[in-house]
C-alpha cells in the first residue's frame, strides 16, 4: 500500500482528499445540518445556563455586600462582647472597630464608633463609610459619648473589614455578618449552585448527543474511508482531515451558539437586576457575566472530545474492550459506589464526584440492562412475535446506546429541574410573602416614635375600609435557656391579617390569635433546629433587661436565614428593649398611601419619609422570578427536545437500515399494517422503557440536589417535593418520541426496498 500514493500527485491529498471526505455531506446535507444544529443548540444551552448563572451570582454577591456590607466578630460562646474582647482582638492584630449601640433613657438610639480604631479599615470601605457621616448624634457619636449616656440598654459590636478571615481570629471568636436588615442571599445562592450543577449535566448530555450524531455520520462514511484507503490514503491522513473538519465545524457553530446563549441570558439578566434593585432599594445588578473566551473554549473542547475521543480511543479499543460480565460488574460497582458516596459524602466535592459516578454507572448499565432484560423476556415468551420484538429491542438498546443514555439523562434532568424549580418557586413565593407582607413599608425616622403612628392608624381603622397595618420592631434578645445565646427579635403589633398569611412549618392551635393576645412567641426554623425547640416548649428570653418566658406557638420558615429569630407581639416588649429598627407595614386600602404618609409626616414632624412600594416590587419580583424559572424550565425542556430529536434521527436512520429486515416479516406472512404495529410496539417499548429507567435517576438527582448538595453548601435544606403527574407527562413525551419513530418507520416500510448491504453500514451486521 505504501507505494500506491506515488500514483497520485501531491495535489490529490491537498484538493481531492478533502473533497472526497466532504462528499459525504454533499450526499447527506441534512446530517451536516443536524450536526451543526446540535453544536449550535448545545452551545447555546450551556452558554445560556452558564451565563445566566454567572450573571445572577455576581448580582447576588453584590446585593449581599450592599445589604450586609459589614462583618462582625462574635464570641463563640454566644456571650455579649466587652471591651476586653476589643483589646484582645486588637492586640492579636485583628482590625476591629467598636460599634456601641445605646438606647438612652430619653431620646433616640445612638451608635458610638471609634474613628481611630476604624483607621485600619482603610478609606472608602464598608465600615469606614459609616464614618463619612458626621458624628452629630444622628445617630453616630464618638464611642466615648455613647458610653457616657445613661442608657436603658447598650450593646457592643465589633466590626471587622471584609478582608478579615476566620483564620485571622484568635481562638474563641468567629466571624458573622453584621446586617441591619435580614440577610437574603442564601436562597438565591442555593438556586444558583443547583443551576450550575444542572449546567454541567446539560454539557454532559449535549456531549453524548454530539457524539451519537457524529458517530452515526462516521459509520455511514465507513465505505468512503475504505475506498480512500484503497487509493492509498492512510487512516492517519483521514484522521487528520477529520480532526480539521470537526474543528472548523465546531468553530463555525460554537461562535453563533455562544452569541445565542448570551442573547438568551441577557433577556433574563435585565429583569433579574430590576428585581434585585427593587428589593434592596439600591442598584445591584452586576451586568454581564463571563466573556466569550471561556464558553467558546469549553464548547470547542467538548465538541472535539465528544467527536474525536472515539478516534483517539480507536487505537486503544482492543485493549479497552472488556468482557460483558466485567463491564456490567464495573458499571454496577460505579453505581453502588456513587450511591453510597452521595449518601455519606462529607463535602460538596465528594457528592459531586458521587453524582458523576452514578451517572457513569447508570449510563453504562442502562443499555446493557435493557438488552439483558429484553433477552430474558424473549426467552420466557411463548409468542413468536413477542420473542422477535424483545430480541429486536435488545439489538436496538445496544446500537442506540448513546442517544438512549442521553435521553435517559435528559429525562432525569428535566424531572429534577422541575421538582427543584417548583420547590424554589414555592419557597420564593412564600419568602416574598414574608418579606413584602404589606403593600407599603414605611421606615420610622430616627428620633420619631412608631407608637404615635400606631395610635393614629388605630384611630383610622374604622373610617378607612380595607386598611391593614402593623408596626414592626426589630432588635435583639438573649435566649436564657441556651447559654445567653443572642437571637434577633422581630416584633409586630397588632398581629393582624397581614401576618396571618404566613405559612408555618409547625403551629399550635390558633397560633396567631394567641400571639395577638401576647401570650407566646414564634421562632424561626433555624432556631428550632439548633436549639431543638418545638411547639409548646417554653422560651426563656432576656428582652431589654427583663427575663420573660414565652411558649412556642409556631415555627416559621426562614428560607435560609442563618440567624435565630423570635417573633413576638410588640406590645409585650419592655420599655428597656433596644429598638434597632422600626417600621410600619401598611396596606392602605381604597384611599391609597398618600393620606397615610401625609398624616405620618405630620405626626412625626418630618418633611419626607422612606416609603417602599412593596406591591410593585412584589409584582416585579414575582414576574422576574417566574421568568427565571420559566427560562430554566425552557432550557431543560430544550435539552429534552434536543435529546428526543437526536434519538428520533438515530432511530430513523437505524430503522431505515433494517427496513429490508422488517420487510421480511411481510414475506413471512404478516400484513404491512401488522408489521408497522409491531414496530410501533417496539419503539414504544424502547422509549417507554428509557423513561421508566430515567425516573429513579431523576428522583435520586432531585434528592441529591435538595438534601445533600444544598445542606453541604449552605447548611440548610429545602423540602423535597415529588410530582408524579409530571413523571406521567415525561413518560407520555417519551412514548410520543417512540410513536414518532414508528410513524417514520411506517413511511419507510411503504417506500421501495433498501439494499440489505447498507445494514452493515451502521455499526455491524447484527441480525
Amino acid at each position: 500500500m505504501k507505494g500506491l500514493p506515488s500514483l497520485f500527485p501531491p495535489t490529490f491529498h491537498t484538493f481531492f482528499l478533502p473533497g472526497g471526505l466532504l462528499s459525504h455531506y454533499r450526499r447527506h446535507p441534512l446530517q451536516l445540518l443536524a450536526l451543526a444544529a446540535m453544536i449550535v443548540i448545545a452551545t447555546m444551552l450551556w452558554t445560556g445556563v452558564n451565563h445566566l448563572t454567572s450573571q445572577a451570582r455576581a448580582s447576588l454577591n453584590q446585593s449581599e455586600q450592599a445589604v450586609a456590607e459589614r462583618q462582625q466578630v462574635v464570641r463563640n460562646d454566644g456571650r455579649a462582647l466587652a471591651i476586653d474582647d476589643f483589646v484582645a482582638l486588637r492586640l492579636a492584630g485583628v482590625c476591629v472597630m467598636p460599634w456601641l449601640e445605646v438606647t438612652p433613657e430619653t431620646g433616640s438610639r445612638l451608635v458610638g464608633i471609634d474613628p481611630l480604631a476604624a483607621h485600619c479599615f482603610g478609606a472608602g470601605t464598608g465600615a469606614s463609610q459609616a464614618l463619612d457621616q458626621p458624628l452629630d448624634g444622628k445617630p453616630f457619636v464618638d464611642v466615648y459619648a455613647a458610653a457616657g449616656v445613661s442608657a436603658r440598654e447598650s450593646r457592643l459590636y465589633l466590626l471587622t473589614p471584609e478582608a478579615t478571615q476566620a483564620t485571622d481570629l484568635p481562638g474563641g471568636y468567629s466571624l458573622k455578618t453584621f446586617a441591619t436588615s435580614p440577610d437574603t442571599g442564601e436562597l438565591g445562592d442555593s438556586f444558583l449552585l443547583n443551576l450550575e450543577a444542572l449546567g454541567v449535566l446539560v454539557l454532559l448530555i449535549t456531549a453524548l448527543l454530539l457524539r451519537a450524531v457524529y458517530l452515526l455520520g462516521l459509520a455511514q462514511r465507513r465505505a468512503s474511508f475504505v475506498l480512500l484507503h484503497r487509493f492509498g490514503v492512510s487512516p492517519e491522513q483521514v484522521q487528520r482531515w477529520l480532526v480539521l473538519e470537526i474543528l472548523v465545524l465546531a468553530l463555525v457553530c460554537v461562535v453563533p451558539g455562544v452569541w445565542l446563549g448570551r442573547w438568551l441570558a441577557a433577556g433574563l439578566g435585565g429583569g433579574f437586576g430590576q428585581a434585585l434593585d427593587g428589593l434592596f432599594d439600591i442598584p445591584l445588578y452586576a451586568g454581564q457575566g463571563h466573556g466569550w473566551i471561556t464558553p467558546v473554549l469549553v464548547m470547542l473542547a467538548v465538541v472535539v472530545l465528544a467527536c474525536l475521543g472515539d478516534l483517539i480511543l480507536l487505537r486503544f479499543r482492543g485493549r479497552l474492550s472488556l468482557p460483558v460480565p466485567v463491564r456490567a460488574g464495573l458499571a454496577t460497582a460505579l453505581l453502588v459506589a456513587g450511591l453510597v458516596l452521595a449518601w455519606l459524602g462529607p463535602s460538596l466535592a465528594w457528592v459531586f464526584g458521587a453524582v458523576a459516578l452514578v451517572f457513569a454507572g447508570a449510563g453504562w448499565l442502562t443499555p446493557a440492562a435493557v438488552a439483558h432484560l429484553a433477552y430474558w423476556c424473549a426467552d420466557r415468551s411463548q409468542v413468536p412475535l413477542a420473542r422477535w420484538r424483545y430480541r429486536e429491542l435488545a439489538v436496538l438498546a445496544r446500537q442506540l446506546t448513546l442517544p438512549l443514555v442521553a435521553l435517559q439523562f435528559a429525562l432525569a434532568m428535566v424531572l429534577s429541574v422541575q421538582a427543584l424549580v417548583t420547590t424554589f418557586e414555592d419557597t420564593f413565593d412564600r419568602w416574598l410573602g414574608q418579606r413584602l407582607e404589606a403593600a407599603y413599608y414605611i421606615e420610622v425616622p430616627a428620633g420619631a416614635d412608631g407608637r404615635k403612628a400606631a395610635e393614629w392608624l388605630t384611630s383610622q381603622q374604622a373610617s378607612i375600609p380595607g386598611l391593614q397595618w402593623h408596626r414592626v420592631v426589630r432588635g435583639q434578645a438573649q435566649l436564657a435557656n441556651a447559654g445567653s445565646l443572642q437571637v434577633d427579635v422581630f416584633a409586630v403589633s397588632p398581629v393582624g391579617s397581614l401576618m396571618r398569611a404566613w405559612a408555618l412549618v409547625e403551629a399550635a392551635d390558633q397560633p396567631w390569635e394567641t400571639l395577638a393576645s401576647g401570650e407566646g412567641g414564634m421562632i424561626n426554623e433555624q432556631l428550632a433546629r439548633r436549639q431543638r425547640l418545638e411547639v409548646g416548649d417554653s422560651l426563656q428570653l432576656i428582652v431589654g433587661d427583663q427575663p420573660q418566658a414565652f411558649s412556642v406557638l409556631g415555627v416559621y420558615p426562614d428560607y435560609g436565614r442563618p440567624v435565630g429569630e423570635v417573633l413576638l407581639n410588640a406590645e409585650t416588649l419592655p420599655e428597656t428593649f433596644n429598638i434597632r429598627f422600626e417600621s410600619i407595614s401598611v396596606s392602605p386600602g381604597e384611599p391609597g398611601i398618600a393620606p397615610v404618609t401625609d398624616a405620618l409626616q405630620r405626626i412625626w414632624g418630618v418633611n419626607a419619609l422612606t416609603v417602599r412600594d412593596n406591591g410593585t416590587i412584589r409584582e416585579l419580583a414575582t414576574g422576574v422570578f417566574d421568568q427565571t424559572f420559566a427560562l430554566t424550565r425552557a432550557m431543560t425542556l430544550l435539552t429534552l427536545i434536543l435529546a428526543a430529536s437526536a434519538l428520533l434521527m438515530m432511530g430513523w436512520v437505524f430503522f431505515s437500515t433494517r427496513a429490508w429486515y422488517f420487510r421480511l416479516l411481510v414475506v413471512w406472512g404478516m400484513s404491512q399494517r401488522e408489521v408497522a404495529d409491531q414496530l410501533q410496539r417496539l419503539a414504544l417499548l424502547l422509549t417507554g422503557g428509557i423513561a421508566v429507567l430515567a425516573l429513579p435517576l431523576g428522583i435520586w438527582l432531585t434528592w441529591v440536589l435538595v438534601h445533600r448538595i444544598n445542606p453541604l453548601a449552605f447548611g440548610w435544606s429545602l423540602p423535597m417535593a415529588v410530582y408524579p403527574a409530571f413523571w406521567l407527562e415525561l413518560c407520555i413525551l417519551s412514548l410520543a418520541i417512540g410513536l414518532s419513530i414508528a410513524a417514520l418507520m411506517r413511511r419507510q416500510l411503504g417506500s421501495p426496498a433498501v439494499a440489505p448491504a447498507s445494514a452493515s453500514a451502521l455499526t455491524g451486521d447484527e441480525r
Binding site: I83, D84, F86, V87, R90, L91, A92, G93, P98, L100, G112, D114, P115, L116, A117, H119, C120, L135, D142, V143, Y144, A145, A146, A147, G148
Partner: protein, 362 residues
C-alpha cells in the same frame, strides 16, 4: 467633650488637607490648639527641666505630644543595605497629671490618641504602614518599667534590665522581628535634655540611645531576610514643640565610620531657620551644637523633596554630603513625611537616617 471631639476630628481632618499645603505636617499638630485654655494645664518643658530614668522611657500624660522613635541602618546576609523605622506617637487630647489614675476603659476615654508608623526601605522600595488607637483602653500605651510601647500587635518590649529590647511590627507585605542590644547610656540633647526648637524658647525634652546593635528578620513580600546592623532610638516629648509659623523640620541622625555620631536638625519658618544638633565623638562627651556652629545646605531635590545635603561643622572639620538612595521614601500616612536612610560621604563616610517634614509634595 466638644473640644476633644474637635481635636479628634481635627486630627482626621489634617489627613485630608495635608496634600494641599506644606503647613500641616505632624509637626503642625502640636500647634493645633495653641492658645486654648487647656494649654495652661499642659506641662511645658524648658531649661532647667531634667531627665529622669527609667521614668522618662514611659509616657508623659501631662505633656501634649511625645514619641518613641527608632531608625536602623541594617544589612542583609549578602550585604545589601536595608533601612527600617518604627515610631509611636502619643497625642494628648486632655492633659492628665502623672499622679492621676488613668480613666476606666469601660468609658472609652478620649484623653489621648496613639499613632504608630512602621517602614522598611530596601532596594529602592519603601514599605509603610500606620496604626491608630485611643489611649487608656489597653490596645495602645507605654510603660517605663517594664519598658514597653505597644499599639495593637506592634510592640517594643524591654527586658528586666532594659538593655535588650524586642520589636515586632507588620504591615501589608512586610514585617519585622528584631532584637535590639542597648549599648551605652542615654544621650541628652540640648541643655541637659531640653532641646530648644526656636530662638524664642519653644522646645522639647529629648534624649537618644545611639549605640544599638540590631539582629533579626525582616520579611518582605514573603521573602525572609536575616538582618543585622545599628540603630538610633529617640525619646522626645513636649507640649509646644513648634512656634507659630514654623513649617516643618529636617532631621538627621548619622553613624560615621570614624565612630563619631551626629544628630542635627533644622526647623524652617518664613523668616529663616533654626538649627541645632549634638556632636557625639567616638571618645568623649556629647557636644551641643548651636545654630552658629552648624550649617545645612540643600544640594538637590527629588520631586520637591531635598534628597542631597551638605552638612558642615567647621569646628570639628566635618564636611559631609548626605545622599538619600534612589526611590520614594514618603510615609504616606495621615501626615505624610519623608523618612529615608542616607549615605554619608565627604570628610567622613558613614550612614544614617533623615526625616523631612512639611514639604509641599507631602
Amino acid at each position: 467633650m466638644n473640644r476633644r471631639m474637635g481635636l479628634l476630628l481635627g486630627l482626621l481632618l489634617f489627613a485630608g488637607c495635608s496634600g494641599d499645603t506644606g503647613d500641616e505636617g505632624f509637626a503642625g499638630l502640636a500647634g493645633l490648639e495653641q492658645g486654648a485654655v487647656s494649654d495652661t494645664l499642659y506641662l511645658q518643658p524648658g531649661p532647667g527641666v531634667r531627665l529622669s530614668f527609667p521614668a522618662d522611657f514611659g509616657p508623659h500624660p501631662q505633656h501634649r505630644i511625645e514619641w518613641w522613635y527608632l531608625t536602623a541602618n541594617l544589612e542583609t546576609a549578602v550585604g545589601e543595605p536595608l533601612g527600617l523605622q518604627w515610631t509611636q506617637f502619643r497625642q494628648a487630647l486632655e492633659p492628665r497629671a502623672a499622679s492621676e489614675p488613668a480613666p476606666a476603659a469601660t468609658d472609652w476615654p478620649l484623653q489621648a490618641a496613639w499613632m504608630a508608623h512602621g517602614a522598611v526601605s530596601w532596594k529602592g522600595q519603601h514599605y509603610f504602614a500606620e496604626k491608630l488607637a485611643r489611649g487608656d483602653m489597653g490596645s495602645a500605651g507605654a510603660t517605663a518599667v517594664p519598658f514597653k510601647v505597644w499599639l495593637d500587635n506592634w510592640q517594643l518590649r524591654g527586658n528586666a534590665d532594659n538593655d535588650r529590647w524586642h520589636l515586632q511590627a507588620a504591615g501589608d507585605g512586610w514585617s519585622y522581628d528584631l532584637t535590639l542590644s542597648i549599648e551605652g547610656a542615654p544621650v541628652a540633647h540640648g541643655e541637659e535634655g531640653f532641646s530648644a526648637k526656636s530662638a524664642s524658647g519653644e522646645g522639647s525634652m529629648y534624649f537618644s540611645l545611639v549605640d544599638i546593635a540590631i539582629t533579626g528578620e525582616v520579611t518582605l513580600d514573603g521573602e525572609v531576610l536575616v538582618v543585622r546592623g545599628k540603630g538610633w532610638f529617640d525619646r522626645e516629648w513636649s507640649s509646644q514643640l513648634l512656634k507659630t509659623g514654623q513649617k516643618g523640620w529636617d532631621w538627621f541622625a548619622l553613624h560615621l565610620d570614624s565612630g563619631d555620631k551626629l544628630m542635627a536638625f533644622r526647623l524652617r519658618d518664613d523668616s529663616g531657620s533654626f538649627l541645632s544638633g549634638t556632636w557625639l565623638p567616638a571618645e568623649g562627651d556629647p557636644v551641643r551644637l548651636s545654630s552658629e556652629e552648624l550649617s545645612l545646605k540643600e544640594l538637590e531635590r527629588r520631586k520637591d523633596v531635598p534628597v542631597r545635603w551638605q552638612l558642615s561643622i567647621p569646628a570639628y572639620q566635618v564636611e559631609l554630603q548626605l545622599n538619600a538612595p534612589p526611590g520614594d521614601y514618603l510615609n504616606r500616612g495621615l501626615y505624610p513625611y519623608w523618612e529615608s536612610p542616607v549615605n554619608v560621604s565627604g570628610s567622613h563616610s558613614g550612614e544614617g537616617y533623615m526625616e523631612l517634614t512639611g514639604y509641599r509634595t507631602q
